[in-house]
């Protein structure tokens, strides 16, 4: 068994102070823990304890794009960001469109030991948008897939989208849509508006996202299924989702940390670190997204962690890849965007970054409130530390963070997954130790 860990004096999301004893694969004791002989003590005075964070939208790149990230390095980045579970997007090579690939992905996650890796299955074969992938086989596989997404591409064919929504009803699945009308965004480089016209960059109009969301919520209502909208980025999308929820449609939505903080004017530098899809939008959109997250219209924060090697970003804007790494910075960015602004408290953060994403993804053993008997996945966060975000904060293989050089509040101090530390005192724990603890905690296979 892994060692026993006593966390002393942590501040819970509710604001109460408590000691927490992690032992025997659970939160064994809570409150004032007197008898913890032999336990490793972690002083959490002044630190907030959150349930281990869950990311519904991570690109781990393995198999196929290991120069950008691997399951090991990506889950190390997750640990550094306070995450104990990540949903791995399907746009690997080969694409995660069969039971074999999703099972491999899950096994790699178990062997790494830093976080639960829950694979997402592709909606269509090869993400090509032509033919449904083997959704049922992936659902029944050991990977137990419930979330299906062609992320990176929109399931733009309305009939195929309808069929996918219908089909996943058989196993309580959800289609996570990358809402982007492809014809309206051919060659698109940044948000379409006054600035794109000035910079001479082809525009990505808000309506290309909003029209797909509008179509999809109506399809979802028609067939009585469940829809999740990835990376909502515009004020108009928020209005459509608000309307759909008021109508009782079973739709959930995510916003990325970067869309909560950064705006399109960063493109003025033509610095490809700020190139992402969907693109950074206007300040009005950022405001609407923050409000929507606070009022529950948007259910969760998901990182869309998208690692790229240096050469994919060291170029002219048009040639650069879309995407940003986001796991390591997510909690600080959410802190800056919605906590420091007074829109949300830490209990809300626990809801949108742990509880709700686990529920949407039907992931058990994560997202539970901190209580005796709950899973021992925890994040300790120092809200008082503020610093310039730098390379030392990045733990994955790629460094394409838009926050380098930017002052952000707070920092993750420790992450506990399955009752053992994956990240402690600002450093990722060594892999041998983590793998040994993981094997002891779950009796899993190696490699």
């Amino acid at each position: 068994m892994p060692e026993r860990i006593l966390i002393t004096g942590a501040t819970l999301p509710s604001g109460e102070r408590a000691d927490l004893l992690l032992a025997e694969g659970t939160i064994a004791e809570m409150g004032s823990v007197a008898d913890a002989a032999g336990a490793t003590v972690v002083d959490a005075d002044g630190l907030i304890a959150l349930p281990g964070l869950v990311d519904l939208h991570t690109h781990l790149r393995e198999p196929g794009y290991e120069q950008s990230e691997t399951v090991l390095t990506g889950t190390q980045a997750a640990a550094a960001g306070g995450f104990t579970a990540v949903f791995a997007m399907a746009n690997t090579f080969p694409v995660a469109d069969t039971a074999g690939v999703v099972e491999q992905e899950m096994s790699l996650g178990r062997a790494a030991g830093y976080a639960t890796v829950q694979p997402i299955g592709a909606v269509t074969v090869g993400l090509k948008g032509e033919q449904l992938a083997e959704l049922g086989a992936m659902a029944r596989s050991r990977a137990n897939v419930r979330v299906f997404s062609d992320d990176g591409f929109c399931v733009s064919d309305p009939l195929l989208m309808r069929r996918a929504l219908e089909y996943v009803k058989a196993f309580d699945g959800v289609i996570a849509q990358h809402a982007q009308e492809p014809r309206l965004t051919e060659g698109a480089q940044m948000n379409e508006g006054a600035l794109s016209g000035e910079l001479g960059l082809a525009g990505w109009p808000a309506v290309a996202e909003e029209s797909i969301i509008a179509r999809d919520v109506l399809l979802t209502e028609h067939v009585g299924s469940r829809l999740h909208v990835c990376h909502v980025s515009t004020a108009g999308s928020v209005e459509v989702i608000r309307w759909a929820k008021a109508r009782g449609i079973d739709v959930t939505a995510e916003v990325t940390p970067h869309h909560l903080l950064l705006t399109e004017d960063l493109a003025t530098s033509y610095d490809p670190r700020f190139k992402v899809n969907p693109p950074l939008r206007r300040a009005e959109d950022v405001e609407a997204l923050r409000t929507a997250l606070a009022d529950g219209t948007i259910d969760i924060v998901a990182t869309d962690h998208a690692p790229h090697p240096v050469e994919a970003k060291e170029s002219e804007w048009q040639a650069a890849a879309n995407g940003m790494v986001g796991l390591e910075s997510a909690l600080s960015v959410v802190h800056a965007a919605v906590v420091e602004t007074g829109l949300m408290d830490w209990a809300d953060v626990a809801r949108v970054m742990s509880d709700a994403p686990a529920r949407i993804g039907r992931l058990h053993g994560h997202g539970e409130a901190i209580a005796v008997g709950a899973a021992p996945g925890l994040t300790l966060y120092d809200p008082a530390a503020a610093s310039e975000f730098d390379l030392r904060r990045l733990a994955g293989r790629s460094a394409n963070s838009p926050y380098l050089g930017r002052r952000l509040p707070g920092r993750v101090v420790a992450t506990f997954h399955g009752g053992y530390a994956t990240f402690l005192d600002g450093a990722v724990r060594p892999h041998e130790e983590v793998a040994r603890n993981a094997a002891a905690a779950w009796g899993v296979e190696r490699g």
Binding site: G193, L201, A319
Partner: protein, 316 residues
């Protein structure tokens, strides 16, 4: 001046100073020996990722008349077409000791990236980037307008009160963008006329009026009418139905040209589609500045290279 990337960043004083230097350069072009020794020993690289013979030879002539050594680097048929990155190309030029790089690129912002990346120390001149800017084209247009209006008395003057109408594909035109910023900085009033599909969706921040009716705009008797080249591929992307409808609605045809006062200048950045955006009669009339624009292009580019590369290179 450290780089010349856009006209947006030029203030009135700097713009007039550059045009005045171009007047001096133009005066040199009247001499029997057209060459100045100013940039002897300097190397200027014309780095062209897009074909543009006119702009390239204009820069080449400008650099040679300043006695610079000129290297022409065309991306076609070079390592660039085999996937070499802008960074590697830039570092190659750096290693060769380029003092100035004149870059034409299909991606908006590529000159900006080259100038700010730290890959290269050379001064960078934007010779047209994507659908963003083409600053030397706007400078030569401003120079041409100023010369026509003020002749030998041009030095030190702006374009205050001059009414300029720019017609055509504003959305994709780097010439239009650079002209809007520069001409208004110099005091001109700019009006844009285009099919609604060929203007950016939000132009509220542009210091220019936008209209869709060419006849209305011409009836206001502008001092300058600048016709932009319309590219045939635009109609395949449904920006307008076909070239006949475009010519009828937004072309400077004979009837429209005949209604203009004889003092109105007719400009075109070239190459022209005769019979499409401009009729032959307008293009070949004494009101047309097309050939002056070409000649002035060399003077303006000499001025830009001179300001960038002679003496100490400032940080501005």
């Amino acid at each position: 001046m450290r780089h010349l990337l856009s006209t947006r960043e030029l203030d009135r004083e700097a713009a007039i100073a550059l045009l005045d230097v171009a007047e001096d350069m133009a005066a040199v072009q009247e001499r029997e020996v057209k060459k100045l020794p100013t940039l002897r020993g300097k190397t200027v690289v014309n780095l062209f990722f897009e074909d543009s013979t006119r702009t390239r030879i204009s820069f080449e002539a400008a650099a040679k008349r300043l006695s610079a050594d000129v290297i022409n680097f065309s991306a076609k048929g070079s390592s660039v077409s085999k996937g070499e990155s802008l960074k590697d190309t830039a570092q190659t030029l750096q290693a060769m000791g380029a003092d100035g790089v004149v870059i034409r690129h299909h991606a908006s912002g590529a000159p900006h990236t080259l100038a700010t990346s730290g890959w290269i120390d050379a001064g960078v001149v934007n010779a047209g980037d994507g659908t963003h800017e083409h600053p030397t084209q706007a400078l030569l247009d401003a120079f041409t307008i100023r010369s026509r209006l003020h002749g030998a008395a041009s030095r030190g003057r702006g374009l205050d009160g001059v009414r300029v109408l720019i017609v055509g594909d504003i959305l994709h035109s780097r010439v239009a963008r650079s002209n809007v910023w520069l001409l208004t900085t110099l005091g001109a009033e700019v009006e844009l006329v285009a099919p609604p599909t060929l203007v950016p969706v939000d132009m509220t921040a542009w210091p220019a009026r936008v209209g869709y009716d060419l006849d209305d705009a011409l009836a206001a008797r502008p001092d300058v009418v600048m016709m932009l080249r319309i590219q045939a591929e635009r109609m395949h992307a449904a920006f307008f139905p076909n070239s006949r409808e475009y010519a009828r609605t937004w072309g400077l045809d004979d009837a429209r040209f005949d209604r203009l006062p004889p003092t109105t200048m007719v400009m075109h950045p070239g190459p022209m589609n005769r019979g499409l955006e401009i009729a032959a009669r307008a293009a070949d009339s004494p009101q047309s500045t097309v050939r002056e624009q070409v000649a002035n292009g060399v003077s303006v580019r000499m001025a830009a290279l001179y300001l960038l590369l002679s003496g100490e290179r400032g940080e501005a």
